[in-house]
Point group: C2
Chain length 583, copies 2
């Protein structure tokens, strides 16, 4: 077939089937070449085909990562004025809060993942996904360096460079071993879907291993000793899931192993679940005790070898060697190497995560945003800007501030420095007047008038309310949505800024700063019991919360497919139990 007749056929296809033009647009992104012709010849295709020059005129957003932050950013983004490229080593989004359930087969791995291409394909936007890992960010030249993890037979084309106008870093974090020797080699982690699958196999392996002949009881005991390091929500949930798996399913199939199984939870602090309410912590510790899960508090792991975990008891510093069969390490998060390198490049080497401002812009960079577990918001202190605030508020330039004057900027101040609002709320102050009054003593509201020094004194405690956001799916997801909203309204906000007053500079900020809204947190404790801590310190523990957990987690699934699968997995588990085939 000659080139000409091929073009003729393609063109005919276009005229007969206008929807084809849509197919070709996407071909054009990576295939190139055909678009100009289609555009020139097909009257029907014109509305759908973006001319090649048009594509290049759009600003290019590169998104690194397809976790909670990246995926929610992509889901919410709907401005057609951007060209989006997504780069991630995982071509799917995983509903990570269900990973502990995957470790024991309560839910199948495939039920909690959704291909990222599926999530973005119905958008009226140019989104292109590449399965690769970014290994270097060059902020100066606005480029990211990527490498595919797809074997070697690509003739050296495993690496490629992508330009960006805006870079959204949402690469998450990795497990933190705190450089404890032996952890990398001997422990399982629980951050990725593959980790959960590996743990599932390791649990079954332990039971099979312990069923082999010729072993002493001592050895069987060691093999069936499961150690969980870290008493955070993930570690606790895994311990609970494992306990249920063993007692509800595995003892039926491995009755001889029943007496040898032991689960130990090691926590360096004084209590497990210490980010939760005390009532939950207490309940969890008691429940675990009843269940026979050995919770060792104040135990810091100092070394892991093939068959033993060495812990140092806080207080007396005594070192204990615990023989174990399988260990899961879940103590916190650390920085990914590429993020660490990038932080060094931009002079943030002494931080734990990428510092951003309240608009999620990486400090000291242009057009780079960071969100999710790899980032932390460096909230501006009121004290840093206290003179600027005073100056902006003192409209008559009298050198003193009346309550009325301060009232005029209070909304902007609260928006820009949310710690102030929090402070007022926590101190149960009804308004700004109360705060200023405190500095001035008992005078009438109208006659308050503060000098800069008095103003500073009044607000001196405010910054103590600042705290870092936790590294949770909830934060990442809200940040993703927030940032997408900013991009969606970028042009509009350029003309009509939406944000608070700039106290240091002139005018208003383009967007509202990011505000986290805590919706509550669950800690499943096994045996169909869950602890829930909802906003307003509302605590609920038991079967009811478990059903709340079921409904929240089902409804939060990313697609109808995963919703259906997760719910049917739960049903299947109720009816048939969990599968213990070693696949």
């Amino acid at each position: 077939m000659s080139g000409l007749s091929f073009f003729r056929r393609v063109s005919k296809g276009f005229n007969e089937h206008p929807y084809l033009s849509k197919v070709l647009v996407v071909c054009a992104v990576s295939g190139g070449g055909l678009v100009a012709y289609a555009d020139a010849n097909s009257p029907n295709a014109a509305h759908a085909v973006v001319p090649a020059e048009g594509v290049s005129k759009k600003k290019k957003i590169v998104v690194l990562g397809t976790g909670w932050a990246g995926t929610n950013f992509l889901k919410k983004l709907d401005s057609p004025s951007f060209d989006v490229q997504v780069i991630s080593p995982r071509n799917y989004f995983a509903f990570t809060p269900l990973l502990p359930s995957v470790t024991c087969g309560t839910v199948e791995a495939r039920s909690i993942v959704e291909p990222i291409r599926n999530i973005v394909r119905k958008k009226q936007m140019d989104v292109c996904f590449m399965e690769a890992e970014c290994f270097k960010i060059d902020a100066e030249n606005k480029k990211v360096y990527c490498r595919t993890n797809q074997g070697t037979n690509l003739n050296g084309k495993e690496e490629f460079i992508v330009d960006y106008d805006y870079l959204v870093i949402a690469m998450g974090a990795r497990s933190n071993t705190f450089n404890t020797p032996g952890v990398e080699e001997h422990c399982n982690f629980l951050k990725e879907v593959e980790d959960a699958q590996k743990i599932r196999r390791a649990v079954i392996d332990s039971f099979e291993k312990a069923s082999l002949p010729n072993l002493s009881d001592e050895e069987r005991k060691r093999i069936l000793h499961f150690v969980v390091v870290g008493g955070g929500p993930t570690g606790v949930e895994f311990a609970a899931e494992l306990h249920d798996f063993v007692n509800e399913d595995l003892v039926k199939l491995y009755p001889a192993s029943k007496d040898f199984v032991k689960i130990t939870l090691l926590e360096a602090a004084d209590h497990i679940l210490n980010m939760f309410d005390k009532r939950i912590t207490e309940f969890a510790e008691k429940k675990f005790q009843r269940d026979g899960i050995d919770v060792k508090l104040g135990s810091m792991v100092v070394k892991v070898s093939e068959k033993e975990i060495s812990t140092k008891v806080r207080g007396n510093g005594e070192i204990t060697n615990i023989p174990y069969g399988m260990a899961v390490w879940s103590t916190g998060i650390g920085t990914r190497p590429v993020v660490r390198d990038f932080m060094k490049e931009i002079g943030q080497q002494n931080r734990r995560a990428l510092a951003t401002d309240e608009w999620l812009r990486v400090e000291g960079c242009d057009g780079i945003y960071a969100l999710g577990d790899c980032a932390t918001i460096n909230q501006r202190k009121v004290m840093e800007d206290i003179s600027a605030i005073f100056k902006k508020a003192d409209k008559d330039n009298s050198g003193t501030l009346t309550a009325k004057e301060f009232q005029g900027v209070i909304n902007d101040v609260c928006e820009r420095y949310p710690q102030l609002e929090l402070y007022l709320k926590n101190k149960k102050l009804s308004g700004i007047a109360d705060l200023l009054k405190g500095a001035k003593g008992d005078v009438a509201k109208e006659s308050i008038e503060l000098s800069i020094e008095e103003f500073k004194a009044a607000l001196s405690e405010v910054d103590s309310q600042m705290k870092n956001l936790p590294a949770t799916a909830q934060v990442a997801s809200q940040q993703g949505k927030y940032l997408a909203g900013c991009f969606n309204r970028m042009e509009k906000a350029e003309k009509n800024p939406e944000g608070p007053l700039r106290f240091r500079g002139e005018g208003r900020h383009r967007h509202q700063p990011f505000r986290y809204k805590h919706l509550g947190q669950f800690a499943p404790l096994g045996g169909e019991k869950t602890a829930a801590q909802l906003p307003g310190d509302w605590v609920s523990i038991g079967y009811g919360s478990q059903w709340l957990w079921y409904s929240v987690y089902a409804s939060k699934q990313v697609s109808w497919r995963t919703k259906t699968l997760v719910v049917s997995d739960w049903g299947r588990r109720f009816i048939f139990g969990r599968d213990s085939s070693r696949i």
Copy 2:
């Protein structure tokens, strides 16, 4: 707690909860020690606890393998007079005919597997499973040598030896590469669940790889060229599944890749599916042509390298190098190393599989049975025993055989030599008289009288009807059930033999020989069309057979769990399509 008080508590538990005794019996197998006490003190437990000496008196059956043959043997076996030990590297049974569906996610891997412990645990028998691989069979000392594939931290206890009284070898076969260079290194196989999962990942990988930037169209074409080697039912079904996966699901997510995908099926013979009826072969070849699957007949693969497959065209011997991205090798089965070593030991080195007699007993061994893909039945020829048959039939020792005399043994002959029955049926002879008549010419039935030479002549063609059984799940499963039946009735049959006359020796055979009953065969061809060849040369192709296929495969699942899961997987596929997440 002192040892005494512990025993007291256990004893109390027994008296209060009689069912506990059952738990303890199984503990006793590997835990030991407690049984005697429980037995002596608990009146309720006595009926359930088998005294320790009793266990050792039982004959011990060791089953190697948990595939179709081994699992069906275990399912059917119900004689409590055996102590059964099962050794297999897989702790589950897999419904292998659905493996091609697993490669593309039409069915999930976990939906087609069932833990072997779950299958046997409800039996009133002592069945003990060990996840290990047998690497040596010592027929002389009645021992098998096993090794667990469970890592290394077992202090050298990875290997163990198991004694047996009866050994059931059901280890299956491995893929046969015919020593073609490069196949082991570069091709995927499709025999195990892990293989299917690997293929699924490899398909997604290919699409992700082809979506990377910087590649030429040539390279994208190569990466998306899927080659299936072998036009048997597995290869054909995989090609069809892959075609559906690509065209129903992947093109939506990878629209740019659509024009680069190609599927090629290489078959060394003249036709694909050549064990099927010609109508099916023809239909399949035409359907594949329409679907754009390139079927290359008479193409023998001679070498596989990283990016090219070299084929030799039969006829002209021309060598062609085909660039490819992923290849699946599905050309037939070969002998496992341990079976090959064992065959050498017992002097069967020149065979493809373990030769057994019609009772599935390995030739030249005592108490060893082999079934499934690792075995082949060495059917006794009528001609070998012709003199013995003649002698047995000639009751009056006249030196000649009348039709009436032969009628007296005909049932036994047909039972012992099924080829005779098949011969009569295929030649459309109504009975033995017709056969004998043929040798004697046109005489009345009553006056037929044959000499030994004439008898030989009459039966000379009979053995031509013998053929080896195919290596299918159906054969293996029937053999497993058959052998279990023999074991179940072993004691009874010892006293009252059930089998046909022994022509060479005296008396009757203990059991009926194994008879395979062909129930038909399916070849799914994609696009919701299946070809079915049922007994009596009944051929059906199309949507109807697809639904027959669905119902047969659903009903043949080993448990209610897998039945439910497989059916819900099909439903999920209809509604949501197949998942393409790379996990």
